[in-house]
């Protein structure tokens, strides 16, 4: 569903993403992990078409983001890491706006149902300024889900959520993936990523360090114990020992 080939993004003299390639198939949840400044957000922004890639190919389904941007964007939804909401739209108006933006008033989810599911019904006439950080995060996720995207890209989606909301979010994401959608999430909460994703992409300095399912990553690192978790694999791969950025898998 998403195919990235040789993606590079260069800001002036800084190489943010360097020849990144990976593929995520329908129904898969990809965990994009890496140290701070590894290029995760830039990669996500390139995929969603917010910023143009310097080179490389990005395909969302049959559409190239370069040549058929609108068709590709119609399939996607993006949840940024920072809270980005319109100051003067109420909670419900945000959902109605997103419905219109993606022209899914008929086919998408019901705004009231989604608000109810995310426990935001009581706040539906409030402005974002009156919401807590967690509620804003929930609203952003609701905005992303309202049009049932085939590709859901989320940058640090669990930040600011309480344990109940995190559990709810996991359930929602898993259910969304079961419908055949692709979910890409970046997070530093490796324990949570480990239990949620079907594939992991570890990047550092904009380059791919490891890519595959957790079992594949474990197999590729015999020096670690057999049941090593994602955190151990991540630390091992991104610590000084393997900082040359080579592809291990």
């Amino acid at each position: 569903m998403i195919k990235i080939e040789g993606l590079s993004k260069i800001y002036a003299e800084t190489i943010a993403v360097d020849g990144l390639s990976f593929q995520v198939n329908e129904g898969e949840i990809l965990g994009l992990v890496g140290p701070n400044g590894a290029g995760k957000t830039t990669t996500m922004r390139c995929i969603t078409g917010i910023i143009p890639a310097t080179s490389g190919e990005i395909h969302v389904g049959p559409y190239s983001i370069k040549d058929h941007a609108l068709e590709a964007k119609q399939q996607m939804a993006f949840v940024p890491a920072e809270v980005r909401l319109f100051d003067h739209l109420t909670v419900r108006e945000h959902l109605l706006f997103f419905q219109r933006l993606y022209s899914t008033q008929e086919s998408g989810l019901s705004p009231d149902g989604l608000l109810d599911e995310l426990s935001l019904t009581e706040k539906k006439h409030q402005l974002p300024g009156a919401l807590s950080r967690g509620m804003k995060q929930k609203l952003m996720i609701a905005c992303a889900l309202i049009h049932m995207p085939k590709v859901l890209i989320m940058d640090e989606p669990f930040t600011g959520l309480d344990p109940h909301a995190i559990r709810l979010m996991r359930t929602l994401l898993e259910a969304h993936a079961r419908t055949g959608a692709v979910v890409v999430i970046s997070s530093h909460l490796l324990g949570m990523v480990e239990g949620l994703v079907s594939k992991v992409l570890i990047i550092q300095h904009g380059r791919r360090v490891a890519y595959g399912s957790l079992a594949e990553l474990q197999d590729g690192m015999p020096e670690l114990r057999a049941d090593a978790g994602l955190e151990e694999i991540f630390i091992e791969l991104t610590s000084g020992i393997r900082q040359n950025g080579e592809q291990v898998l």
């Binding site: 969603t48 910023i51 993006f78 003067h88 933006l101």
Partner: protein, 563 residues
């Protein structure tokens, strides 16, 4: 227009109005709004009622209007060419960029959204300008005037946008300062050359085609656009609409990559700032809003941090450039006007510098970002610093005062030298003991203290009641219009009253010293009296600053937030 974007604009506008109305329940919003409304009504409504159609000032100044508007348009275009390109012309908030750029919206739709988004403010501005100018134009009706202003402002906005986009397109290939500065320099040059020949202090024959070749296109635009809009009613409107249409097509056609917008630019600048902070090795990278002095101040180098913060801010906003261009333009025009009356050039310079030197006490601190309330945003962090609140306030006020005073003293020295060289002071001045040296000494002791007092009073007020006073527009986003005008009036009244009260005792003392000690000190009695007055004012200011500094301790984080 995309239905979703239309929905966003309409709902956002309604939401903003609803917020404004609902917050009037609070006195801190209600009183400024009422005062602003009273002021606005008392000034403009009588004018509207007494409008005299015979008094058509705009028609009377038609020729001059075209010339002035040409210069104005040239200035706007040059400004957007030189400074606005940093935003690529199409500036979007980060929320808009993250949401709208990721949505299935075409470039045309985003351009249309950008243009349409600015229409509600333009409608309000048209209404305001129509009220102001209703009494001095021969407009057939008030509605006519509103529509005229609306079209003229849209035209100006579109031209500015096209200019910025054109630069964005050019910058993609060549980005260097000569190219960036050449249009403003050509414009300035043509402006000078287009002045009447007898204004030149030297014999110089200007080929008539030279200024015209630069100014003619602008004249044509103004004559066919703005001027026609104002003079010819609906035929003029059609011309304006055609111009707006051309600009719109140009906006669509100019293939500027959206990467050159606020989002990417802001990110790049933030990364640069962070690299700089890291290079200095004094602080870890912080978020955008806290990246300046609080992280640095935590290291203890408060003065350096404050200086760095101010310089960064001034550089970022391009205020020095803006002010330099404004003052240079005023000075140029005024200078040549006086030269045409055969006054010495040095004297013209002294005449220009003297008022500027005096009002610098009020003008400079805002340029140096004197509103300490902006630091209250970081109060949670500031309160954790090992710095007492009084020390904090003295540091902030002291450095602003020192920079302003240094600037004033440089100007003062220049004026004194000019006065000595030309000997052009009237003889009465000398008789009153107002020789160049005495004037310099008086200024030297009085101006820094006066600046310090102004800074302390203004910031004392905003720290005392942060939600009630305003120092400058734009400090608090979303606070403008009638309510902000009212807050401004309250602030001006409070500042004036505070300054008057503080000046009372030093002023009286100065007069008494001058009266009783005129004989023993002779011609130096004025500097002596000024010194006594300055000392008293300084004592008052330091006492107040000490108390105001304590306000930091009592303030709670978030108290500066108005909405």
């Amino acid at each position: 227009m995309n239905r979703a974007l239309f929905y966003l604009i309409i709902r956002s506008s309604l939401g903003a109005i609803r917020i404004r109305l609902s917050r009037l329940k609070q006195p801190k919003y209600l009183f400024p709004a009422l005062i602003g409304l009273l002021y606005f009504g008392s000034i403009f409504v009588p004018r509207l009622l007494k409008a005299d159609p015979a008094l058509d000032v705009v028609a009377a100044l038609h020729e001059k209007f075209i010339t002035m508007a040409s210069f104005g348009l040239g200035f706007v275009l040059c400004y957007s060419w030189t400074f606005d390109p940093q935003r690529g012309g199409l500036s979007f908030s980060e929320t808009e960029a993250e949401i709208l750029f990721a949505a299935p919206l075409s470039r045309q739709e985003l351009v249309r959204y950008h243009l349409l988004r600015s229409q509600p403010p333009l409608i309000f501005s048209s209404l305001l300008l129509s009220l102001i100018f209703a009494s001095i134009t021969a407009a057939p009706s008030f509605l006519f005037l509103i529509l005229t202003f609306f079209l003229a402002m849209n035209l100006l906005r579109c031209m500015s946008l096209v200019s910025a986009l054109a630069w964005g397109a050019v910058r993609g290939k060549w980005n260097h300062w000569p190219l960036r500065l050449s249009p403003p320099l050509v414009f300035l040059f043509s402006m000078v050359l287009s002045l009447p020949a007898h204004w030149y202090p030297f014999s110089f024959s200007v080929p008539s085609w030279l200024p015209e070749s630069v100014l003619l296109p602008l004249h044509m635009i103004v004559a066919s656009g703005f001027s026609a809009t104002f003079m010819l009613a609906w035929p003029g409107w059609i011309v304006s609409i055609v111009w707006i249409g051309c600009c719109y097509v140009a906006c669509i056609r100019l293939d500027v990559v959206f990467e050159e917008n606020t989002l990417a630019h802001a990110k790049r600048r933030m990364a640069q700032q962070q690299r700089r902070i890291q290079a200095e090795g004094v602080a870890k990278p912080q978020k955008e809003r806290t990246r300046t002095w609080p992280p640095l101040a935590a290291s203890g180098s408060l003065w350096r941090a404050w200086m760095w913060k101010n310089l960064t801010w001034i550089k970022r906003t391009g205020r020095i450039g803006t002010f330099a261009i404004i003052f240079a333009s005023i000075g140029l025009i005024w200078g040549y006007a006086v030269i045409s009356e055969n006054v010495a050039v040095e004297m013209v310079l002294a005449m220009m510098l003297t008022p500027f030197c005096l009002i610098a006490s009020f003008l400079m601190p805002p340029i140096l970002r004197v509103d300490f309330r902006s630091d209250l945003e970081n109060l949670e962090l500031i309160k954790t610093f090992p710095i007492s609140s009084r020390e904090l306030f003295f540091s902030l006020a002291g450095l602003t005062t020192a920079i302003t005073a240094a600037f004033q003293i440089v100007l003062l020295t220049l004026i004194t030298v000019i006065l000595y060289r030309t000997g052009s002071l009237p003889t009465e001045f000398e008789a009153w003991g107002l020789g160049p040296l005495n004037l310099f000494l008086c200024g030297f002791v009085l101006l820094p203290v006066l600046t310090g007092t102004v800074v302390v009073i203004e910031n004392g007020l905003i720290l005392w009641l942060p939600a009630w006073f305003a120092l400058k527009a734009g400090q608090n986003q979303g606070h403008n219009g009638i309510e902000y005008m009212g807050r401004g009036i309250i602030s001006i009244l409070a500042r004036t009253l505070g300054l008057a009260l503080l000046l009372l005792i030093p002023g009286l003392t100065t007069a008494l010293v001058l009266f009783f000690f005129h004989d023993p000190f002779g011609r130096y009695s004025l500097p002596v009296a000024a010194t006594v007055g300055a000392c008293l004012l300084a004592v008052e200011t330091i006492l107040i600053a000490g108390n105001v500094g304590g306000l930091y301790e009592r303030l709670e984080p978030g108290s500066a937030e108005l909405s």
